[in-house]
């Protein structure tokens, strides 16, 4: 085992793709959570109206 510049350069692709990939997935989850919160609010409003 020793310094391997070729492997380092090849790994940069995974570094960039991997870190960017997490941001993309987190972004999708954020949108879903905001959608869930709105859906839950509407559901609660409906149930409150029904109760009235």
């Amino acid at each position: 085992m020793g310094i391997n510049i070729g492997a380092f350069i090849a790994s940069l692709k995974y570094m960039i793709e991997g870190w960017a990939g997490i941001f993309i997935v987190m972004g999708i989850i954020i949108v879903c959570i905001q959608g869930l919160n709105r859906f839950a609010e509407k559901l609660e409003e409906k149930e409150a109206k029904k109760a009235e």
């Binding site: 991997g18 990939g21 997490i22 941001f23 954020i30 869930l36 859906f39 839950a40």
Partner: protein, 366 residues
């Protein structure tokens, strides 16, 4: 007499060194209360597995094949962890997920550093996942990629998780000013509907499984535990997951992993390199999270305390408490615990997703 003392002839210096390492782990677990759930059984197992011709090795190997080699133990542990987590602060402010993402930078940076130092890709990726600051994820990824250094990786992961109160403050003070650490943040707790709490684990599991199918088990078991907690109709199962299941698996896991801490495979130069790379992973996780906070402040009118970026690692709840304490040390009226806790649970989700992405990218190549 030969039968009684003959075994001493097989004792080596390396075995004695491993006894010392086991003793240090037990000391840290008991006296310093550093991750005792794992370090104590690992330390004890390490000592017994490094006795000449030890019968312990055969027994622990059975447990290893039953629960670690097939990644079962870490997945079962994740059910318990999921049942313990309250995602409320995250659901109230979902943008905190981005801090979770930012604080996984150390994983990918360490992947490159480990490759530079000559580790095979499977080992570089397994070493990098130490930066997930999550024991089960580290074990799962290392075992799935069939890394040659599972034991060293696990020891590093759990040791650095216990060292978060030392590593993170040092790193944060290196890259932030006092003024930045004193930034106050408002906290407006939103009420999270039960429907959201129930649907969140299902939605996250679905998304993670679609994006990175290899992470389906990791994310799925974590979110299943959370669903047990949030559904409200399975209190006994949730309590069992948080207590009996988590404790039982932790007990077996620590002892079992020690079978890979035998001197001939553990006392190699690569182990020291792995410990060094693990530290780099944690440090750059912290740097990544803090710098993300600083970048947000460049564009946002409402300033955020960049330290909460550092809470985006998965070491829950220790990291959020460390960050909150640092804020109060600078200003006794600066309370950022809830924001840090939100970033901390975001880190739990992000670290598992990171593990899945590592498996998706590297798995097919090894």
């Amino acid at each position: 007499m030969t039968q009684i003392f003959g075994n001493f002839a097989d004792l080596t210096v390396q075995m004695v060194v491993m006894w010392a390492i086991g003793a240090i782990m037990i000391y840290l677990a008991i006296k310093k209360e550093m991750e005792p759930t794992l370090l104590l059984p690992m330390g004890f197992g390490c000592i017994l597995c490094n006795m000449p011709n030890s019968g312990m090795v055969h027994t622990l190997e059975i447990l290893f094949q039953a629960g670690v080699d097939n990644e079962l133990f870490p997945l079962l542990l994740f059910i318990g962890i999921g049942a313990m987590i309250d995602f409320g602060p995250l659901l109230a402010d979902p943008k905190l997920l981005l801090f979770g993402a930012a604080a996984q930078f150390g994983i990918f940076f360490t992947l490159s550093m480990a490759s530079l130092l000559g580790f095979e890709l499977r080992d570089a990726a397994s070493i990098a996942i130490i930066g997930a600051a999550d024991g089960p994820t580290s074990i799962f990824v290392a075992q799935t990629l069939k890394s040659n250094y599972t034991a060293a990786i696990i020891v590093a992961a759990y040791s650095y998780m216990a060292l978060v109160p030392i590593v993170q403050p040092f790193c944060i003070k290196l890259v932030t000013t006092k003024e930045e650490r004193m930034i106050k943040m408002e906290y407006a707790p939103g009420k999270i509907a039960k429907t959201t709490r129930i649907l969140f684990p299902i939605v996250v599991s679905a998304i993670a499984s679609l994006v990175a199918p290899d992470s389906a088990a990791l994310v799925g078991f974590l979110m299943f535990g959370n669903l047990l907690r949030e559904c409200g109709v399975l209190r006994s199962l949730s309590e069992c997951a948080q207590n009996q299941l988590a404790n039982l698996v932790s007990l077996l896991l620590g002892l079992t992993v020690a079978v890979r801490m035998q001197a001939e495979s553990f006392l190699v130069p690569e182990t020291l390199m792995i410990l060094g790379l693990g530290l780099i992973a944690f440090m750059f996780d912290t740097f990544g999270g803090v710098f993300f906070g600083k970048v947000i402040n460049l564009f946002s009118k409402k300033k955020i305390n960049p330290m909460i970026g550092a809470a985006g690692i998965s070491a829950f709840p220790m990291s959020s408490r460390v960050i909150a304490k640092m804020a109060r040390d600078e200003d006794p009226y600066n309370f950022i615990l809830m924001q840090a806790a939100g970033a901390n649970v975001a880190g739990q989700v992000a670290s598992v997703i990171a593990g899945g992405l590592i498996l998706a990218m590297i798995g097919p190549l090894v």
